[in-house]
């Protein structure tokens, strides 16, 4: 019998939410654990076996010199490297430092700034090493994670759409909050995956799944202006959990300059 694939879970700067999505898959967890060998998952197990690993799941962004070195080692140990969540795929909310003076940020939080060692920027994993698949979301959707693992095991392409959240609204029959109520919504430029939750809770999408494939951010910016949003407000709405994803970065900087 062929050995089961060895899976490792690594963490960089993050909230732990995405890797805990695996533990939140209560109905599937023991099944997944039966199909693969989870050999390195420090937040769930004391057993930490050495690589190489068949699949590496990476959560979190690179924010320290030490982590910038560690991701190189992780890449060398993983045959397939998958980044999970907005921190790993886009730098996360902590990438808001990228437009500011990080030293000043540290002085705001810490009494003795010289004790803190951090990089000026919070950057996604793909800016440091080649990544085989990026699973978006803040947090990721556990069903997409299971689909991705199953697809990897079967050697097929995962069924994870890159279209916008608008399609999910239409599919679930949510009345458009922009059209019906004039609510600012990033759904038209945001990748599907969450199930278009926010509009179903009577609020606009805040873009936690990051930019869809080829988003028309310019058109959305104009629409948000028509709804009465200031350029500063629009810039800030692109600058949240996926602020450093280049399409959202560009859109936010255009509003800032306008």
């Amino acid at each position: 019998m062929r050995d089961k694939p060895r899976v490792a879970v690594f963490k960089f700067a993050s909230c732990d939410g995405c890797q805990l999505s695996l533990l939140a898959a209560e109905d599937e967890l023991l099944g997944v654990a039966g199909a693969v060998d989870i050999v390195y998952f420090p937040e769930a197990s004391r057993t930490m076996l050495k690589g190489p690993y068949d699949i590496g799941l990476v959560e979190g962004s690179i924010t320290t010199h030490h982590d910038a070195g560690r991701i190189q080692q992780v890449r060398r140990q993983c045959r397939t490297l998958i980044t999970i969540g907005a921190c790993a795929t886009a730098g996360g909310i902590q990438a808001l430092r990228n437009w500011k003076d990080v030293d000043e940020f540290i002085r705001v939080v810490y009494a003795t700034p010289q004790y803190i060692s951090t990089l000026k920027m919070s950057t996604p994993i793909a800016e440091h090493v080649p990544v085989d698949f990026e699973l978006r979301g803040c947090p990721i959707n556990k069903h997409q994670l299971i689909e991705l693992i199953v697809a990897m095991l079967a050697g097929r392409k995962p069924n994870i759409p890159a279209y916008s959240a608008c399609l999910e609204c239409k599919r679930r029959g949510t009345v458009c909050v922009v059209v019906a109520r004039g609510v600012a919504c990033l759904g038209p430029v945001t990748q599907a995956g969450c199930g278009a939750l926010c509009p179903s809770f009577d609020r606009g999408c805040y873009g936690c799944y990051g930019p869809m494939e080829s988003p028309n951010t310019g058109s959305l910016t104009n629409q948000l202006r028509i709804l009465g949003q200031s350029d500063q407000q629009i810039s800030q709405s692109f600058r949240s959990y996926n602020a450093w994803a280049w399409q959202f970065r560009k859109a936010s900087e255009e509003c800032e300059r306008a």
Partner: protein
């Protein structure tokens, strides 16, 4: 870890949320120093919250922690509401208690079954444990799922739910929607009682400390969102006075700030503190569970916190059923944010303990200043103190057992390192 030389070391503490290490310095069998190191990188939330609109704060601060996002949302909305003078609808208050019940159940079940029980039963993790105790692990997963069902129904998803808002909720559930939870919650109530009996039967190290317990206390309720900050040594203050009594200290070896009580030193927040200070506010079914478990008051053995977590799950199931039975939807899901400036404070009870927030807001609703003190940073100094007294009793044991027991002692606190940055590697230096 090897005891051949002067150094005993484990590089990475497992089954805690986030990254850190532990360094214990010994001279002979005397403990010279204990340092809990947090190498979780700083994410600087308090800095980048400045300049954001207050309505964004519950969504942003949720991202501090994937295990207890609701705690961050609750402390944030209450502090901002206080700053802006917003009075919430009583139905919203009831819904927030229900929301918190879901998070306590999810977080406590995760910690009891996935993170802490393997220590007591001798497994490296819950998946290995499931090979011999499949029924127990499956019950734990189902309890966790029941908590998550509350959160998902009310907030769209388990992690970083999207419904919490300053002034109330973006959307409130219907009575019929909430009633779909009742059957699962009745099962979970029985399963929590069974869990309390199960974990009460574990073997506990004979270890007690004279703690200063700090928790919220409310005249009529086991605390979630409201109450005064009290301790077993006479502290009794409003959240607004928090910073007069509690001090954060930045130590060189850690990215987390240490909290201590001015003039008194370390203190303990979390289930043990809540339980010891608020036992009389537990419903009769939870009090009976405590008696059935043989848990004496006050409980000063931190290893027994696993039993207290199970008792709190009994409470959370009971409270959730009560909230659902009493619920009438509010007239409006939320109160609009008024255009005024202010300063507001709030402390709420995250699953792992007291979580304090303070915000200064200008008249446009923009955050001028944010301060967040998470439970793990408050417990960090107390964890070090526990180890200082716990380690000497272990010195005759094999090296592997010392390490395991130290890790278990840290896990008593259900430390959430991702939160505290603003946490473990075990290294024992012998002179």
């Amino acid at each position: 870890m090897s005891r051949g030389g002067k150094t005993i070391r484990v590089d990475y503490l497992a089954r805690v949320e986030g990254e850190g290490g532990l360094c214990i310095k010994l001279k002979g069998d005397q403990v010279q120093d204990v340092q809990l190191k947090i190498f979780e990188p700083p994410r600087l939330f308090e800095a980048f919250l400045r300049g954001r609109h207050c309505s964004e704060v519950p969504d942003i601060t949720a991202r501090i922690c994937g295990i207890c996002p609701i705690a961050y949302q609750m402390s944030a909305v209450h502090a901002i509401e206080r700053a802006l003078g917003i009075e919430i609808d009583p139905a919203v208050r009831l819904l927030r208690r229900l929301f918190y019940c879901g998070e306590w159940m999810e977080s406590h079940a995760l910690h009891i079954f996935m993170l802490h029980a393997p220590d007591f039963l001798g497994y490296p993790d819950a998946i290995q444990m499931a090979r011999d105790h499949r029924g127990t692990v499956e019950q734990g997963l189902r309890l966790k799922k029941t908590g998550n069902r509350i959160v998902t129904l009310m907030g769209g998803r388990e992690i970083h739910p999207i419904s919490a808002a300053v002034g109330g909720f973006h959307k409130v559930p219907s009575k019929t929607g909430l009633r779909t939870l009742v059957e699962d919650l009745k099962w979970a109530l029985d399963a929590s009682l069974a869990t309390a009996r199960l974990v009460a039967g574990f073997e506990f190290p004979d270890f007690e400390q004279d703690y200063e317990f700090v928790a919220l206390s409310h005249p009529d309720e086991y605390p979630f969102n409201e109450g005064r900050l009290v301790s077993n040594r006479g502290l009794n203050i409003d959240a607004a006075q928090y910073e007069e009594h509690f001090v954060e200290q930045h130590v060189k070896y850690s990215n987390a700030l240490h909290s201590y009580l001015r003039g008194r030193g370390s203190y303990l927040v979390g289930p043990l503190a809540r339980f010891n200070l608020n036992f009389s506010r537990l419903p009769e079914i939870a009090q009976q569970a405590v008696r059935d478990c043989g848990l004496a008051l006050p409980c000063r053995n931190p290893f027994r916190s696993i039993v207290v977590r199970a008792v709190e799950m009994v409470f959370a199931c009971h409270e959730a059923l009560r909230a659902i039975a009493e619920y009438e939807p509010p007239a409006a899901p939320r109160v609009e944010i008024p255009g005024r400036a202010g300063v507001g404070w709030a402390a709420t009870e995250a699953p792992r303990g007291l979580l304090y927030h303070r915000y200064e807001i200008d008249e446009r609703g923009i955050i001028l200043l944010a301060k967040i003190v998470p439970p793990t940073s408050q417990n960090q100094k107390r964890i070090e103190d526990d180890l200082r007294y716990f380690v000497p009793g272990l010195m005759t044991r094999p090296a592997e057992e010392i390490t395991l027991r130290c890790e278990q002692a840290v896990r008593n606190y259900d430390p959430c390192i991702s939160c505290a940055t603003h946490f473990l590697r075990l290294k024992i230096d012998r002179e």
